[in-house]
């Protein structure tokens, strides 16, 4: 197929071009000066403000909802309850259409909407929401993995409900999906092992914590349609889901997605948008929901996990087998979590040459808020365990943990997942490890109380995708590129502007990038899995080349030569007499009627049936991280004295953006390793939604020295040999930091986060054990 993802047309960097340089962020000045309009900054003077009604438990049958008093409150225009929605309750989802627009007779997680109140002001809506009387009976919900997997556990999803689990062999359990990946003979390999490391690990639930909270505006249109303003990463998915729910065509549902103020995966799948769509249609009015950070924390999170692992090593440090069982705590509805489980566990053996491996993974429903995508997807959870196993094995064998990794790491092209759906290394991954070791001063001796740890991580990128782009070369030599990728901080717009500028020879400041509007911009599947550089990047590149081809043909016709006699290159049509600047050639070609040249580009990758990932990964993100800590043994606190993160990015299209994303990923990974966790009580209530008790890294939590670097071999499938990036540095941060703490404290920690209290407790237990 002509629009398939191929790597042979990627082009090479121009020495005088914009791609490959530290081009300043497109839209950066607007952001720095406060002019950028995020969703909350859009003005809708007529909009009603919305407050969501919830109950203070995680699992309950709803016996009645009395809205009479609320409806009589000043300023209240309308209240939406489940009774206002079609019956059966409309449900949505990606793989499982299991999530109701609002609680359907039963609240399945803390924060699930029971009603929504629309009033003239936010104060009025909040006041009225407080007097909506919800009569409920609390149920013995399952709030932990242990509770959900216990025999006779309360089932989060009713097995008799035909809309959900019908025909599902697992329907009498809380396991929504499971996956097993296996190769080799574990028992045979175990016989060769000089050491078997066995341990259990846990990875807590966390939240994306975008500084821009969630917000939605739903506006009925004059022609019976609906416009939704929401800062989502996947406007086209939003359009499809909402149109399906409210029974409109795609063309009637217009999604405007202003650039998100951070997403990190949390702004992909609809949350409140379906409810807001129904509310707007019921009232015939524009309605607006604006959450704060704490409310956002309640609404989006990453899956926690528990892992059990057994790993065998020879005395030289060869890994002979790895057996890992992982349960992801996904929450009350599927969202994308089954895929988080399958993708995360696929790489559960790590990037190693393993003669035998068994990975058993389950996605488990609990009565907790719905987990969704987050930077790293399901990989950080399993890498925490797998990499800690390798560190432990090396330590107990008295071997250098970096060299054990180098010894077992697959070569470029070698399989790290074997069998029918093999996964192969697509880069020189050892180079990343060697570079990290060099930057970290791996072999330099450390003073007492210091420790160093290393880990590696991989994540499979998108396994299917479709991105379409339009590029218009205008008569005056300026250009507009339409690309549906959401620019949520990763700098997508900058990369498209750089690409168009180079391919068409247009000055950077004359390129406009349009995105985030389903009426204006052609289809893009989604902004996720660090896919955009590769997929949308290729579509943009092809659209530019389509423009060039058309200019060449138009020019040839005007000057009366065969198009075959001409050629084109970035920014020029090549004639026998020499190069003609592309904009000049376009003007000649367009002639007196002027007009413009409209190029189109598509990039498509079809999935593969039966593949655990849904298809072969278009590339892998590989990262090596090394942490160095100084421990305060008296309190268990530590300072990260140095942290190094090296990723294989193929080609850096914009080195300063790569640095920012790499540092950002590393710091987020550090926060997740040393302080972040969502804590629920025995009623399923989230105890720390507020930023006061959900701690994220500040300036002072950044490592004293933070070095990031990229391996560039121009071997990626994306434009100019690039690969996607920005998730790499978060994949194995936990394990690197954990290993550093172990080296400094002399104890192994198996649960994240690495709080001072946890380290203090472990060292004290070890000391007491030593005395006893």
């Amino acid at each position: 197929m002509g629009d398939a993802l191929r790597s042979q047309e990627v082009g090479t960097l121009r020495p005088d071009g914009n791609v490959g340089t530290r081009t300043k962020r497109y839209g950066g000045l607007e952001r720095a000066s406060g002019a950028q309009k995020y969703v909350a900054d859009l003005e809708f003077p007529e909009a009603l403000q919305v407050a969501i009604v919830t109950i203070p438990v995680g699992c309950a049958d709803i016996l009645g909802v009395d809205t009479a008093e609320a409806e009589a409150m000043p300023g209240v225009v309308g209240v939406l309850t489940a009774a206002d929605l079609p019956s059966p309750m409309p449900r949505f989802g990606v793989s499982h259409k299991d999530r109701p627009v609002m609680a359907d007779g039963r609240v399945n997680f803390y924060g699930e909407p029971v009603a929504a109140v629309a009033a003239l002001t936010q104060e009025q809506a909040d006041a009225a929401a407080r007097v909506v009387k919800v009569d409920y009976r609390e149920l013995p919900g399952v709030y932990t993995l242990d509770a959900a997997l216990a025999p006779g556990a309360h089932l989060v999803q009713d097995p008799s409900d035909p809309t959900k689990r019908a025909g599902d062999a697992l329907r009498e359990t809380n396991v929504i999906e499971e996956q097993t990946i296996a190769w080799g003979d574990l028992a045979e390999q175990e016989a060769k092992a000089a050491l078997v490391v066995e341990d259990s690990y846990s990875y807590p639930m966390m939240t994306q914590f975008p500084i821009e909270p969630l917000a939605v505006i739903a506006e009925p249109t004059d022609v019976g349609g609906l416009t939704l303003y929401t800062p989502v990463q996947h406007p086209y998915l939003m359009q499809r889901i909402v149109a399906g729910l409210v029974g409109k065509t795609l063309g009637q549902v217009h999604v405007i997605a202003p650039d998100p103020g951070g997403g990190f995966g949390g702004k992909q799948i609809p949350k409140y948008e379906p409810l807001m769509a129904f509310l707007a249609l019921k009232l015939g009015r524009t309605v607006r929901l604006t959450l704060n950070l704490a409310e956002t924390t309640t609404a989006i999170r990453r899956a926690g996990a528990t892992v059990h692992a057994r790993t065998g090593f020879t005395s030289e440090g060869d890994i002979v087998f790895h057996h890992v069982r992982i349960d992801y705590q996904i929450g009350a509805y599927a969202d994308v979590a089954p895929r988080v489980m399958t993708k995360g566990s696929y790489v559960g053996g790590g990037p190693y040459r393993l003669p035998a491996c068994l990975i058993e993974a389950r996605a488990v429903l609990t009565n907790t808020p719905v987990s969704t995508a987050m930077r790293g997807y399901g990989a950080p959870q399993i890498s925490w365990a797998t990499e800690s196993q390798i560190t432990d094995g090396a330590r107990r064998l008295g071997l250098d943990p970096a060299r054990v990794r180098l010894r077992n790491l697959v070569e470029n092209g070698e399989e790290f997942v074997k069998g029918e759906f093999a996964g192969k290394a697509d880069g020189e991954w050892k180079q990343a490890v060697e570079k990290a070791m060099e930057l970290a001063g791996w072999d330099d001796p450390l003073p007492p109380n210091r420790g160093r740890g290393i880990a590696v991580g991989i994540k499979s990128s998108a396994t299917s995708g479709l991105s379409q782009s339009l590029v218009r070369l205008l008569y005056d030599g300026s250009a507009i590129v339409y690309a549906g990728t959401s620019d949520m901080g990763q700098g997508a717009r900058t990369i498209w502007a750089q690409t168009v500028a180079d391919e068409l020879g247009v000055p950077l400041e004359k390129v406009t990038v349009i995105s985030g509007d389903t009426d204006l911009v052609p289809f893009d599947l989604q902004t996720s899995a660090s896919r955009s550089t590769v997929f949308m990047g290729t579509a943009v590149l092809r659209a530019c080349r389509d423009v060039r081809r058309q200019v060449r043909e138009m020019y040839a016709e005007r000057v009366g030569v065969e198009p075959g006699e001409l050629d084109d290159e970035p920014g020029a049509v090549l004639t026998a007499e020499g190069a003609v600047a592309l904009d000049e050639a376009a003007r000649i070609g367009l002639g007196a009627l002027r007009g413009e040249v409209l190029g189109q580009g598509t990039c498509r990758l079809e999935g593969r049936k039966g593949h655990p990932l849904g298809g072969d990964a278009s590339f892998y993100e590989f990262n090596c991280s090394i942490s160095e800590v100084e421990l305060d043994a008296g309190t268990g606190q530590f300072v990260i004295t140095r942290h190094v993160s090296v990723s294989d990015v193929g080609t850096e299209l914009n080195p300063i953006q790569v640095t920012a994303q790499e540092e950002g990923g590393a710091i987020m990974g550090i926060g997740q390793a040393d302080m972040e966790q969502l804590v629920f009580d025995e009623h399923g209530r989230l105890l720390n939604p507020s930023a006061i008790d959900y701690r994220v890294p500040t300036y002072k939590d950044v490592p004293l020295e933070l070095f990031t670097s990229a391996v560039e071999n121009h071997d990626g499938p994306g434009p100019y040999g690039s690969k996607g990036m920005s998730e790499g540095p978060i994949l194995c941060t936990g394990a690197a930091l954990g290993a550093a703490v172990t080296a400094a404290a002399g104890v192994k920690i198996t649960d994240l986060p690495l709080t001072a209290e946890r380290i203090w407790r472990a060292t004290r237990a070890a000391a007491e054990g030593a005395i006893a």
């Binding site: 950066g28 952001r31 000066s33 909350a40 900054d41 104060e123 920012a660 006061i692």
Partner: protein
Amino acid sequence: MSVGTGSLVTVTATINGETRTFTVPGHRTLLDALRSELGLTGTKSSCTEGECGACTVMLDGHAVNSCLVLAAEVDGHEVVTIEGLSVDGGTDLQQAFLEHGAVQCGFCIPGQVMSAEYLLSHNPDPSVEEIRDALSGNLCRCASYNRIVEAVRQTAEKRVSTRG
């Protein structure tokens, strides 16, 4: 004394150099008043509890969290927001943010710029440690921290050297 029966307050304040008068409910925060009454949406709302710094503005020359100030309190005082600090083409500090890749999603950035300008206003040549201390009330989830520190350092150096 009269506490007043109505809950509305009329406030007259100097906002970005201009005298502005507006009427708000007594409990309306400065943050909400700036954004909805005065149309100054450059100041961002996130945690609304003084934890993130996205809403930082200058009140009588001091950086404050506008989500923790009542609009009524600024009557007779002077407020400067990110809009009041910006010039066409960006200030040297804003340009330094761009050069150093400090602007990612950008949502926290107006607050970061305000806090950084406040720091430079009383400590023109801060060390890296002083910058980290002074800005640690401004969260950036994109974690542009080191990028911002570089931008502030560079701006300080340039400003100090041009002042001679």
